[in-house]
């Protein structure tokens, strides 16, 4: 069953909980990733690893303007074009403009959260440019016209036979459910795209300020392809994705790899510092870097500097008991899900209340904080957000975030409706499916559910029933 990402949160969660196949697939994927991560972390001195990674990120975020200027200077020195975008619209306009200048018809793209965040594929599509996703999982769901279900395993909800059927239909593949065969078919198809596309687009895992270098992590090699084969290469980077030095990039690469997939390191780590040099056989003739704010400076203004430390490894997502139940689609039309998504989706938004349910989609169990390679106190941030969103901060302090703006707009009936829907949501997440009771609730309600089940809230409130019957 497909989950309608545009539906209300209640509906999305209900659809996700009712989708048995999705739940099983998620359980398998996250279970495997959690296990592998634990083994990879046990092999190293993780306290030191985390402290060093945290220190690099803290320094970076605290010195962001200086490092951005340094990055820009060094990228230009290396022959790159540097662009700045305040929001998604500016960012996509810049990329469309580059595409127009070079008569680009076909773009090959490697998986990237920020391009999803700014809606790049849609914008290029409107400009008449065809974008092909080249990560195998992304390619599959692009063919199927579905949203990704997991940040690392976007097609995890699809069975081999579903993918086989899709490839037979769209690529004319002979019937086979063998993953190796399907992979070979995708290799041939995408190879054709890589060699023919006029433009390659990637995200940016880290940009090195010292050297003017864009670093891209992949396992399949599509990151190498999009940065090397097309004549024009465009990297899209969130403005917080900086590290000061090459050594820091190598540290963060290892942190991302061990915590994402449990690998010592990813198969490929590509460091691009400008277009191909004279006498080189390959590499792009032009390299562009688009530095995207799109709400990141707002996160800092709202007092949530910690949220900018994130390196998008997804360890918190895999550990999260709520995510493992409901999956990525239930978080709605956002590029980011799981605990980190619940923090940054409302914070990136102009109106945090547009995603006000998300900070409540957590049991505050603390698993996310314990695994985070840069030690982000995610439960703490979620609590701050809840406080800021409800009253302007019983515990958060009025200087944090948009408490004032919220207090001004949220009249009592609206807040009541919102809180009630949150209660329905939370109890529906924590109750077993088809059960009328809730076995475990987050603190402080856990004091209750430790000893007894809490009745699930009625799916329709009395208010709603009343207005339906009398409206």
């Amino acid at each position: 069953m497909k989950i309608d990402v545009g539906a209300t949160y209640d509906t999305r969660v209900r659809q996700a909980l009712d989708d048995e196949r999705l739940r099983l697939a998620l359980e398998r994927a996250t279970g495997r990733l959690v296990e592998r991560r634990a083994a990879a972390i046990a092999a190293v001195d993780n306290d030191r690893f985390r402290n060093e990674a945290r220190a690099v990120r803290e320094y970076t975020v605290q010195h962001l303007p200086t490092l951005l200027e340094q990055l820009e200077h060094n990228l230009r020195r290396n022959g790159c074009h540097v662009h700045w975008a305040r929001d998604a619209g500016e960012a996509t306009d810049i990329v469309c403009q580059i595409a127009r200048q070079h008569d680009v018809r076909n773009v090959v793209k490697s998986k990237s959260m920020v391009t999803e965040e700014i809606g790049l594929n849609e914008a290029l599509g409107r400009a008449g440019v065809k974008v092909v996703e080249t990560d195998l999982g992304e390619y599959i769901i692009q063919l199927a016209e579905e949203p990704p279900s997991h940040i690392l395993a976007p097609a995890i909800h699809k069975r081999a036979e579903d993918i086989s059927e899709l490839f037979q239909q769209k690529l004319g593949m002979a019937p086979s459910n063998d993953p190796a065969h399907m992979c070979a078919v995708a290799r041939r198809e995408l190879r054709y795209q890589f060699l023919g596309a006029e433009m390659g687009v990637s995200g940016c895992n880290f940009a090195v300020a010292d050297t003017g270098t864009v670093c891209v992590i992949t396992n399949e090699g599509n990151g190498r392809m999009v940065t090397s084969m097309p004549p024009v290469y465009v990297a899209i980077a969130g403005i917080e994705r900086i590290v000061p030095r090459i050594e820091d990039a190598v540290l963060m690469w290892q942190a991302a790899s061990r915590n994402a997939t449990g690998q010592d390191v990813s198969v490929y780590f590509s460091l691009s510092s400008g277009p191909r040099r004279p006498g080189h056989a390959d590499g792009p003739d032009e390299m562009h870097v688009v530095l995207v704010d799109n709400g990141r400076s707002r996160i800092l203004e709202r007092g949530y500097g910690d949220a900018l430390l994130c390196i998008r490894c997804s360890a918190c997502i895999n550990e999260c008991p709520v995510y493992r139940e409901i999956g990525g689609h239930a978080y709605g039309e956002t590029a980011y899900n799981g605990p980190i998504g619940a923090v940054i989706t409302p914070l990136l938004a102009e109106d945090p209340l547009s995603a006000c349910e998300l900070p409540f989609a957590s049991t505050l169990c603390g698993a996310c904080r314990d695994v985070c390679p840069v030690k982000i106190d995610l439960p703490g941030l979620l609590l701050d957000l809840r406080a800021d969103m409800t009253e302007g901060g019983a515990g958060g302090g009025t200087e944090r975030m948009a408490a004032r703006a919220f207090a001004a707009t949220a009249r009592r009936p609206r807040r009541y409706r919102w809180m009630a829907s949150v209660a329905r949501l939370v109890t529906s997440v924590f109750s077993r499916r088809n059960s009328e009771t809730v076995d475990t609730l987050p603190p402080p309600l856990s004091a209750w559910t430790k000893t007894r089940a809490f009745p699930r809230m009625a799916s329709k409130s009395f208010r709603k029933l009343w207005s339906e019957r009398n409206g």
Binding site: D135, L136, A153, A160, A186, D210, E220, N222, V250, D264
Partner: protein
Amino acid sequence: MADPTSNARSEILDRLRGPLSAHNSIFRDGARRDTPPPIPTAVTDAQGDPVALAHLFGKRLEGVQGSYEVVEATDVARHVVGRIVDWRGRTSDPMTEAEGVLSWDPAQLPLPGLGPQLRDAGISLVVPDDLHDRESRDRAAALNVGITGVDAAFASTGSVVLTSGAGRSRAASLLPLHHVLLVPMRRLFPTFESWLATERGDGGLDDLVTRAGQVVFVTGPSKSADIELQLTLGVHGPGSVHAVIFDDPVV
């Protein structure tokens, strides 16, 4: 016309400077980080003489579905040929039936004389000098074996690092289905960090990174688990990576 992104630039930097200019912490735990942290220490560990490092590197590479052998310098050509013949026998991909091998310029390979030795064995090295037109790319992409040297190899993870340059195409380690890495023992380092420290100490690290255009770390064959979490190799890059490690005391 004014560059519209210049407004964006100053606005973004100003918005960031606002909260950062205050003296209090921007983090929840009150931390401040006014000076750059020390250079990170090694995450992984490896020890031993070059031969021990060579075998450790090889074991790690095997751990990520690669393969290796440690051979005499005089025997490298024979082993490379043996490997290529073996791969040719196994491959059934019609895209990759051409005869030549996509290679770095022999002058960029760590073993002088390898080019002629391979040619004598019936394998010609194809060294592209410009891959910008579709035709030359398609020709390069039709070759099923690539041969490159390495800038450094890392024993603790089975990784190598390659810098692009004149005579050192990116394509040779990326387009073919099979990749031979020629690894002289003197290029072996225990860890990434030990290599970074050596390059930094020589004053050349930043220059090495920027001069190349692209530097890539490679750890085993291209892989994916996107279909039902089953491991598949050779998604876009090589599906097999074989390291031939040799000692070259006199160069």
